[in-house]
Amino acid sequence: MFKKILVANRGEIALRVMRTCREMGIETVAVFSEADRTAPHVLFADEAYLIGAAPSSESYLRYDRILEVARDSHTDAIHPGYGFLSENTDFAKEVTEAGIVFIGPPAEAIKTMGDKTMARQSMLQTEVPVVPGTEEPIEDVDQALQVAIEIGFPVLIKAAGGGGGKGMRIVESADTFGDAVAKAQRESQSAFGDGRVYIEKYLEEPHHIEFQILADQHGNIIHLNERECSIQRRYQKVIEESPSPFINAELREKMGVAAVETARSCDYVGAGTVEFLVDKHHNFYFLEMNTRLQVEHPVTEMITGTDLVAEQIRIAAGQPLTIEQDQITITGHAVECRIYAEDAAQDFTPSTGKISMLQIPDGTGTRFDGSIRQGMEITPYYDPLLGKLICWATDRESALNRSERALREFYIGGIETTIQFCRAVIRHPVFRKGPYDTHFYANHKAQLHEELSNASDEVLLVAGATLFQHIEKLKHGSQTEESNTSAKSGWVTVQQGRAHR
């Protein structure tokens, strides 16, 4: 087993990886930018090295410097976390060439799956379904109609020359097809100077559902069930859960097999995620594969009792998987809420500043994977993810109740966060009910934001009166501190007797 691992990352994922390293008796090396000298991952690590200025292009993406630190510190292996260099083929190669183990898949697998078109091409060689559609843009309407009939209606006409919804048309039947193509072509032509269009199957009420897989160096590949990730805002996941309230055991089985097949097709090794789109008829299609640890991996850990980082490390060290497919079960239900330093009331503008007070939820089935502490400055340089709240309970309803309790108890003073936004989603009746799709946020946006801004008279009174006292006290310069005066005087007696417990 490795003696020392360098974590080429920052924030919550760096801390997450280091925690497992320490549990495995492996020493940890942190790298940090000038903005992160006192960041939690630096405080946690056994060793820490400055690698450059605050912008990540000058620090966390400088793999020459990271490799230098790895050599200087006699590191055995590098864990890239997610983001930054985690899916960088060159980095993976250079690490390996330096005689250091890259905790991730072979560079070739990263390359294949990193390019969407290449990945799609590669998946067409397998049994795994991809979203049906034309491979090349077409201009001829009759030819297009033939394809549409083959795919089956409804279909989506998409502009080849650009995005943003322009030149896009959903067509329900062959009757209106010709007309729609013509319109889409004209729109594309005028918007992008390019009239070519693609045809793709239109997925009704699509769900974003992904499967966690683990593959060792000995050809064993298993999946650890799905994660439902349909709650998204601008393609950014907000809340994930496992199991999915949408799919059943039969579909889970089928998709799991497809996920394993996907991994096998690119000779995958390590932890990875196969993302699918599932339509309302339970048809599923390969979307992409993420060749690294996923932000939302903890929900899988909570329902399967595994430690995915420990599995990654053992795999990288050449050990065979310790668990077999039929040992993977689903125990209870887990929900993850992503807590961002963003102001939901102002279109999710990033929020920076000092964390003046911090109360992190805890207790039964409550886990927070974060990287914050009271007194810490949130800088504008990096991703605004402060951490993830993951709640587990025996069933979905209890897990949601627990999430709501934990979000209510979560207090971060000094900056704006998405805590309340997550709470609004968790409370929403459509989300509560279960089989929501990726349109959830778009469909319920107004309602969610209204819930956020709707204060009761009681809350307004509390807000107004506190503001009044705050201003009064600032004026008179006399801040009433916590009343701990009683701790220093007024002693009378202390309760007798031995502690009862």
Binding site: T352, S356, F410, G413, L452, S453, L461, A463, G464, T480
Partner: protein, 166 residues
């Protein structure tokens, strides 16, 4: 002391009576006992008629308060302002609606207009990068660009005025 709390379309009238460290809030529907104890700079533990709240007061804005985690936008008007308002005067400082400031520190990557251009409310006026995200800043009002105070490629601190629309 008479005050009015305004929040969106709601307005609550009340009277604050201070005695020692305690406050009584007189409202139309009765008196409320109120006590706020500071637990950290900007954070208070509040008991109002024995109901418990944790309240955060933003240091940079008098108009945003956080009650049990929920942000509340409000305006607190005292008797003087109320009286002036009754007289038809309103001394609430008029915010220059056309001043577009940087909400967070960041890098201005693109400015879409030049001085003199006409813009409509909601039109993108510049791009700013912060926290790995590109943020499109839109015109808060319609009007013409009076002044552009920064250049593309410039990094700005929080609060820096970028563009003025009038």
């Amino acid at each position: 002391m008479k005050y009015e709390i305004n929040a969106g379309e709601k307005a609550l009238e009340l009277d604050f009576q201070t005695q020692d460290n305690r406050l009584t809030i007189r409202t139309e529907s009765g008196d409320l006992d109120f006590e706020a104890i500071r637990i950290q700079p900007g954070s208070y533990s509040v008991l109002m008629n024995n109901r418990s709240f944790v309240v955060g007061v933003c240091s940079e804005s008098d108009q945003r308060v956080n009650v049990n985690g929920t942000p509340v936008e409000l305006e607190l008007l005292d008797a003087v302002h109320l009286h002036l308002r009754e007289l038809g005067w309103d001394t609430v400082p008029e915010v220059k609606a056309g001043l577009v400031c940087a909400q967070i520190p960041g890098l201005i990557t693109k400015i879409f207009h030049q001085t003199g251009d006409e813009v409509n409310e909601g039109d993108p006026i510049f791009l700013m990068e912060a926290m790995k995200m590109e943020n499109e800043i839109k015109a808060p009002v319609s009007g013409s660009i009076l002044k552009i105070s920064v250049q593309e490629g410039q990094t700005v601190d929080k609060g820096t005025t970028v563009i003025e629309i009038g």
